[in-house]
């Protein structure tokens, strides 16, 4: 059906054309100005699903990265503490060897005992090392200190507060992925021993033995006990080292993942600047053409030629 063209249909058509070009221009300008291709879910529902998932993963990624930093701080605290503990044990061993020498006078044995007590105090302080107010050797408990001393008894009693006697302490974990956690503390009960079996009780028994009037030479027994602690601590220390390595790698992996996620997010929601500007140019040209054509088309009527 050939339509009859009247002034009104022509004007309506011209208005629609101008309006359409203007709407396209507006959309193109909006996209170029915001640099966003997706502003509401209906722009791209599938992309929205992706964006929401990516947003969630990015938030998790940021949190896991903070966890990694926190975990690294915990582990380096544990690591440096264990290094100092090993140094103290080496000194203790040297003193024990010295005490075993038969040439010691009572006064020098007393001096050695005093030095050993000083080392015990150091070790006790090290065992109660804290990071941001939390004990690094008390496991995941709320205990005020990892080890407490009761000096009212003779010899003093040492209690490990990290766990029930004989039980393993719950570990402090940091989450580095949805299904992976890394241990960031060390079990104080294993490192320092518990109760009568602790390194503190050992030092007490050595000092009380060598402070006696004519002590027998128990050097071999003591050295074996000290070596036992050193070996245990060495093992734990290497575990801490490998945990540090793991958390370090996790941190790197999180950074890589973050870069990828941001890239994916941008690919879904961001407009390509070059394309956006080109679209604005095209739409602007189309709009101007529509205006020019309309101005030309609607001006003359037959009236202009009838005189």
């Amino acid at each position: 059906m050939a339509f009859r063209i009247t002034m009104q249909t022509q004007l309506a058509q011209a208005q629609r054309n101008v309006q359409g070009s203007k709407a396209l221009l507006n959309a193109a300008e909006q996209q170029a100005a915001t640099q966003r291709r997706l502003t509401v879910p209906s722009d791209d529902p599938t992309g929205t699903a992706g964006l929401l998932a990516i947003g969630r993963e990015l938030a998790q990624n940021a949190q896991y990265s903070r966890n990694v930093e926190d975990g690294q701080a915990w582990l380096s605290t544990v690591d440096s503490t264990l290094t100092t503990v090993t140094d103290q044990l080496t000194q203790l061993r040297n003193l024990a060897v010295q005490a075993g020498s038969g040439t010691n006078s009572a006064a020098s044995r007393q001096a050695i005992a005093t030095q050993m007590q000083a080392i015990k105090s150091n070790l006790l302080a090290l065992a109660n090392t804290q990071y941001l107010g939390r004990n690094v050797f008390a496991g995941g408990t709320d205990a005020a200190t990892a080890f407490s001393v009761d000096t009212t008894t003779t010899p003093p009693t040492y209690t490990y507060n990290g766990a029930a006697p004989g039980a393993a302490a719950p570990s402090v974990e940091r989450r580095i992925s949805p299904d992976t956690t890394v241990r960031v503390d060390a079990d104080g009960g294993q490192v320092f021993g518990e109760g009568a079996g602790s390194v503190f009780a050992l030092i007490d028994s050595i000092t009380s033995h060598i402070s006696g009037p004519a002590p027998s030479n128990e050097t071999a027994t003591y050295l074996a006990a000290i070596d036992g602690f050193e070996a245990t601590i060495g093992g734990i220390h290497s575990t801490v080292g490998s945990d540090m390595q793991q958390i370090q790698q996790a941190g790197t992996a999180l950074q890589t993942a973050r870069t990828n996620l941001v890239g994916q997010q941008s690919a879904i929601q961001d407009a390509d600047p070059a394309e956006a500007i080109l679209q604005v140019q095209t739409a602007s040209t189309a709009y101007q053409v529509a205006l020019a054509v309309t101005a030309k088309a609607i001006q003359p009527t037959l009236m202009d030629y009838l005189h």
């Binding site: 009247t6 249909t9 309506a12 974990e173 989450r175 929601q269």
Partner: protein, 479 residues
């Protein structure tokens, strides 16, 4: 040859027909921009030659001039009906599309400041608490995030309530408008019938009636049938709202607030016949009223606003349920003075008999001493870590909300496409109607020239007859 007087009559009939033509052209031009005006055209036919008297017709006879048979409107009921049909569909889909776009704007997804972003920050805050279980600062940050999240949910829900109320208002006003239009159509039916019966023209009244009919079509997608007595009947879904001069008014029934359409009460707003309350207006799916009703419907009837509100309520309930399920059995952190942590601390409270979940969701935890962070027999902070992982689990509030947002996006996209299609169909229908019915100045100019020339030619005939008669008279006087 007829008598001289009849020759003058012929010339006069031509003159008056040409002058009527100029009048109609003038009327057309004057109403060129009047909405709903249908261009008119003079139709003429030759006047039959007078019957010959006498037994033997001798001379050949000319006709007796021109007769105006009528002033015809160039309207087409078919094109009008197509425009009304397209109007009804376009109004409905445009209302739906706009409503969905508004819901999208209310949700403001996807963004870090929307509910999805609030959930992400909330889970992250739990992770911080897991790292620093006894730290009051981490606990305060968590409670702050949780309050921000409940505020976001409440604000979005209130936005939906406002939209529902505004749409309902629109529906009520539209229904009144429809009743007023129906009354107007019935009154015009009466006037047009009287005018037609009296033999007069009713073009102006028909234009008025057409405008009302167009408005009714746009409101409720009505169909129009033309009766023999120049009146029209107007139907919605097969039942007459206007029958010749009788009007059946409509009224709005059903829930009057968004919470009223939440299942199980689900009495969606709908139209009923005012004289037969309880009798719903059947199959009203066209027009802006049809669009409004489908938007206002209950969630199980696919109402867009109630569906999103339902999603928000589900989010609030499942958020509170899943978080509390972990925090209630978990113990809070040991106080700095060594007091052991206690169990039984709900983090969220939700639900009441009268208000929807999204509005009642609130944070009941107040600080580090009443946030359950430690699972039984496990390390301090383990329960908090478990809570922080809820968001990543299948069946999480986040996953359900994402699905809801995506479903809304798909609906809005489909509605927008449908609206574009209906808009294009409406444009095409209006274009076809206008090309048939609208006035074109060029054509009127041509007609004007033609009628002017016809007038001049007939005047010429008249003056010729005058001269001929004058000659004859002079001849008689001189003899």
């Amino acid at each position: 040859m007829g008598g001289t007087i009849s020759s003058l009559q012929i010339a006069y009939s031509g003159l008056s027909a040409a002058r009527l033509g100029i009048d109609v052209t003038g009327d057309n031009t004057a109403n060129a921009l009047t909405p709903g005006y249908v261009r008119q055209q003079v139709s003429t036919s030759p006047t039959a030659e007078p019957a010959q008297a006498g037994p033997t017709p001798s001379t050949a006879q000319s006709g007796s001039g021109v007769t105006v048979t009528g002033i015809g409107q160039q309207g087409s009921p078919l094109l009008d009906a197509q425009v009304r049909l397209a109007d009804g569909a376009a109004s409905a889909s445009s209302a739906r599309s706009q409503a969905l776009a508004q819901i999208e704007a209310t949700l403001a997804e996807p963004s870090a400041t929307a509910v999805s972003g609030g959930l992400q920050s909330f889970w992250a805050a739990w992770q911080e608490v897991s790292n620093q279980p006894g730290d009051p600062a981490a606990a305060s940050a968590l409670i702050g995030q949780a309050r921000a999240l409940t505020d976001q949910i409440r604000t979005v829900y209130q936005g939906l309530q406002q939209q529902w109320a505004a749409t309902y208002q629109d529906l009520a006003v539209g229904a009144q408008q429809l009743n007023a239009d129906a009354t107007g159509v019935a009154a015009l039916n009466q006037s047009i019938r009287s005018a037609t019966n009296a033999g007069g023209g009713a073009a102006a009244l028909v234009v008025q009636r057409n405008n009302l009919l167009d408005q009714m079509a746009s409101l409720a997608g009505v169909t129009v049938t033309y009766n023999a007595d120049s009146t029209v009947d107007v139907h919605i879904g097969g039942t007459a709202i206007v029958q010749s001069t009788t009007v059946h008014q409509i009224a709005v029934a059903g829930a009057t607030s968004m919470d009223g359409v939440e299942p199980p009460s689900d009495a969606s707003p709908h139209l009923v016949w005012a004289d037969l309350p309880g009798d719903a207006v059947a199959s009203l799916d066209g027009g802006s009223l049809g669009g409004d009703i489908s938007i206002l419907g209950a969630q199980d009837a696919g109402g867009a606003i109630a569906t999103t509100a339902h999603d928000l309520n589900t989010l609030a309930t499942s958020l509170a349920g899943q978080v509390n399920a972990i925090t209630v059995p978990a113990a809070s952190a040991t106080a700095p003075d060594g007091t052991a942590g206690t169990t039984g601390h709900a983090f969220f409270a939700v639900g009441s008999a009268t208000a929807p979940a999204a509005l009642t969701l609130q944070v009941v935890a107040t600080g580090v001493s009443d946030i359950g962070v430690t699972g039984s027999g496990a390390a301090v902070g383990s329960a908090a870590d478990q809570v922080s992982q809820i968001g990543a689990q299948p069946g999480s509030p986040d996953a359900a909300w994402s699905a809801a947002v995506v479903a809304l996006g798909i609906n809005a996209q489909t509605a927008s496409q449908q609206s574009d299609l209906d808009g294009a169909a409406q444009t095409a229908a209006v274009n076809a109607q206008q090309s048939q019915e609208s006035v074109d100045p060029d054509q009127e100019s041509v007609n004007l020239v033609a009628y002017q020339q016809a007038y001049e030619a007939n005047a010429r005939v008249l003056s010729t007859m005058n001269t001929v008669l004058g000659d004859l008279m002079t001849l008689l006087q001189t003899n």
